[in-house]
Amino acid sequence: MDVAEREDTLLSLMRQARLTGQGGRPEDIAGHTSLSVEQVTEVLTELVRSGEVTYQNDGAYHLSPSGIRAAEAIMRRHRVLETFLQEMLGMEHELAHAQACTMEHHTTDDTINRLRGFLRGNRDCPVTCHGHVRRCSFKSLADCAHGDVVKIDAIRGCGRGGRLADLGLIPGEKVMVKQRMADTLLIRVKDCDIAISPEIARSVLVEVDQ
């Protein structure tokens, strides 16, 4: 049995249960998916055998607790993929949804977890993931040591953003840390030396120059 058919059937049952509060008949499910009634019945029989679905005498199939868990996992995969396609790759909602519908069945949990981390821009990404260093290695100027050469990634907050931009601290610009006195930094930007306080340094996010 095809994974996609199996998971789509589970999702349809879930949707049915949420909409009507009742189980689904093979005819209803065939209407939601691109399967024929015979195919759906075959898949459902298989699912009853593996314990995710129960058949009751009213002629409808219901999700068992383990079936509900499985369906929820698929929905979560769908959401993560759809968000990624839409927000990060800029796809239209309809297209992103359709793509996510086919991708959700073949994406491993590990990939989904990493993607989710990526979307959150989180810091606890494993050091070994080179694929998206740009988002992962969020580090601020305040974390840089004497002599480091780094590239500005972004500037947080708006307080002194204007002044920083006028002095040449803009995303993409290379900065050298010339001197560090406690947490106060002397940096070199565009051949000029600038002294900045720790709180300002913390607002300048950098990526490590490799």
Binding site: R160, G162, L167, G168, M181, A195, I200
Partner: protein, 623 residues
């Protein structure tokens, strides 16, 4: 004809200005700000040319006092020609401002200053190419050597041009500019549209339209419009820089900075420099003060006493002369010496290094490195120092800085310490007063940073390369500083001196003495007439000393007071309540509440310190 000099800070702009105008510079404050604008007149072909030195700025779009002032002046077409002064060594960063100035389409020329320094660092600049690209005449000068300076005015008057270069912005921004230029009926200029996108301007319909578009742009690009513009301009600047400048690679000159900017020995060097400055002012000041006061006594007061005038007229003239004598005795020996040394420190570029070194410790007081600059200036006179607080960050920072600066011993208080304690008690005793004051400043800072509400913004300060100070610049700067002192302090000094004279003449002083005697005598252990002296110290700090001499009837104070009494008197009068000018400027800059708080706090501090010393002296003999 009016010519404006515009450029980043530390590009030698002021030195060029001094070369162009010579002596006879006029300093004026722009209404509503404390930003100094210098103007002077130069002659070309027998026609006078007015030259205006604008404050150094990094951008024409900023929100600082100086940036706003320069932008307003440029927008209102106050100048016939702009001379844009750029630092040839740091051309790329300097081009950023130039590109902004170009957008205003005013006839201008470019002056690439510091040519000698660029040559030393093997930076070659193709001025012809720069002129070709931008459509503006370019002059290569060196203000320190005086090279090509004489060319500036002739070129500015004959060849200035509005330029042809235009920054190519992001296509969304260009589209926004096109839209905005069609908004108002008469059509607005490109620069007005650009400023409107950043919320700057006066045309309400243009601003309204710009606000909507700016919102969309920010949504789209996920960053403020000003950052987008800055990015585009920096990109254009770097492109031009690439075409125009060729630099021998790998020449990094660090020199002294590797010593000056490290915790060790940098901090020690800083402490040494500041301490030796203080001591120099102390000794040089006392020496010349004595000369001036003595000369005044012999040549003016002596003959005056011999004349037989009506007592009231005599009292008035006498008070007036005393005021002049006191003013000169402080202004020139102490204040001028201090500001002369200070100007040397400023002109070398060491001041911003002090700010870097002090940043950490200043954070303890809820301030940041830049706040050390007004505090050091306060050693000369508190008034300009308090006016300089505007430059630093948030309300919280200004509040704390105002408290601390008011406590910094200014020149007038140095006169008291030098004139009373150093002369009659001893040098170490005099230094111990400084020690007490600075410890109290530190403690107050710690305390205030705990209780003052508000947020803290850090420092962003350019650290220019170290330079050998130019004597011309040092004198000009010192003159500007001392001018502030003379204009604000001298008139007040004369008025209060005459006031004091009249009070003495009509016997009011005796009444005051009797009223305050219990406090002064009982708690501080001072003779009753000291209260009048303390009270008049409020008018001008050093008057506390002079009044004491007048009231004691002898210049040899040890005849009427003990040494510990003199010590307590000096300590209390230096600490308690700022002088009238300081209170006035506090009120103007920080509001009535802060002015009252600071006055009460210092009175409290002064009496506590005096009481404690008096109490200790009753237990153990101090001097």
């Amino acid at each position: 004809m009016k010519i404006g000099l515009i450029g980043n800070p530390n590009v030698g702009k002021s030195l060029i200005f001094s070369h162009l105008t010579g002596i006879g510079v006029e300093v004026s404050n722009y209404p509503g700000t404390t930003v100094d604008i210098l103007s002077g007149v130069s002659c070309i072909n027998r026609l006078p040319v007015e030259i205006i030195d604008l404050p150094g700025i990094y951008s024409l779009d900023g929100e600082g006092d100086e940036e706003r002032l320069v932008r307003d002046m440029v927008l209102s077409h106050s100048f016939d020609v702009l001379v844009v002064i750029l630092d040839a060594v740091h051309l790329e960063r300097n081009l950023y401002l130039f590109l902004q100035v170009l957008e205003h389409r005013i006839p201008m020329i470019v002056v690439l200053n510091m040519a000698d320094e660029a040559e030393k660092q093997e930076i070659q600049i193709d001025t012809h190419a720069l002129s070709q690209i931008t459509g503006v005449p370019v002059l290569l000068t060196s203000a320190t050597l005086g090279k090509n300076i004489a060319e500036i005015i002739p070129v500015a008057t004959t060849r200035a041009s509005v330029g042809t270069y235009q920054v190519a912005y992001d296509r969304h921004i260009e589209a926004a500019i096109r839209t905005l230029m069609r908004v108002s009926d008469s059509g607005s200029s490109r620069v007005a549209s650009l400023l409107a996108l950043q919320g700057i301007g006066t045309d309400p319909s243009l601003l309204e339209a710009a606000r909507t578009i700016a919102g969309e742009l920010e949504e789209e690009h996920r960053m403020p419009v000003s950052s987008l513009l800055a990015g585009n301009r920096h990109h254009a600047a770097s492109e031009i820089h690439h075409h125009v400048v060729s630099k021998a690679p790998g020449k990094e000159m660090r020199g002294l900075d590797s010593w000056l900017l490290t915790p060790f020995p940098g901090v020690l060097i800083m402490a040494g420099i500041l301490l030796s400055m203080l001591l120099a002012v102390f000794f040089i000041g006392s020496f010349f003060e004595e000369l001036i006061v003595e000369a005044c006594d012999i040549w003016v007061l002596g003959p005056l006493a011999d004349t037989s005038l009506d007592p009231l007229v005599y009292e008035l003239i006498f008070s007036f002369v005393i005021a002049i004598q006191a003013g000169l005795g402080i202004a020139f020996p102490f204040v001028f010496t201090f500001y002369l040394l200070m100007s040397v420190v400023e002109d070398t570029g060491y001041m911003s290094r002090i700010a870097f070194l002090a940043d950490r410790i200043m954070h303890r007081f809820g301030l940041h490195g830049q706040a050390i600059i007004p505090m050091v200036l306060g050693l000369g006179c508190n008034v300009p120092a308090i006016m300089a607080i505007r430059q630093i960050g948030t309300k919280r920072e200004r509040h704390i800085a105002a408290f601390l600066i008011t406590m910094v011993p200014c020149s007038a208080r140095t006169v008291i310490i030098a004139g009373i304690v150093s002369v009659f008690v001893g040098l170490y005793a005099a230094l111990s007063i400084y020690l007490i004051i600075f410890s109290l400043i530190l403690l107050s800072g710690l305390f205030l940073s705990k209780i003052t509400p508000g947020t803290q913004l850090g420092m962003v300060l350019e650290v220019p390369p170290l330079r050998v100070p130019s004597p011309l610049m040092v004198l000009t700067r010192a003159w500007i500083h001392i001018r502030e002192f003379l204009v604000i302090a001298m008139p007040l000094l004369i008025v209060s001196s005459i006031f004091l004279g009249l009070l003495g003449f009509y016997g009011v002083l005796d009444v005051i003495e009797t009223a305050t005697a219990p406090v002064v005598q009982g708690i501080l252990g001072l003779p009753p007439f000291a209260s009048t002296a303390l009270l008049f110290g409020v008018l001008r700090k050093e008057m506390a000393f002079e009044t004491l001499v007048v009231l004691a009837g002898t210049a040899n104070l040890t005849e009427v007071m003990t040494r510990i009494q003199l010590y307590i008197f000096a300590l209390v009068s230096t600490l308690f309540i700022p002088c009238v000018s300081t209170i006035a400027v506090l009120y103007r800059e920080q509001g009535l509440k802060t002015a009252i708080q600071i006055s009460l706090y210092t009175v409290f501090l002064g009496f506590i310190a005096g009481t404690v010393v008096h109490w200790i002296s009753t237990l153990i003999p101090l001097f």
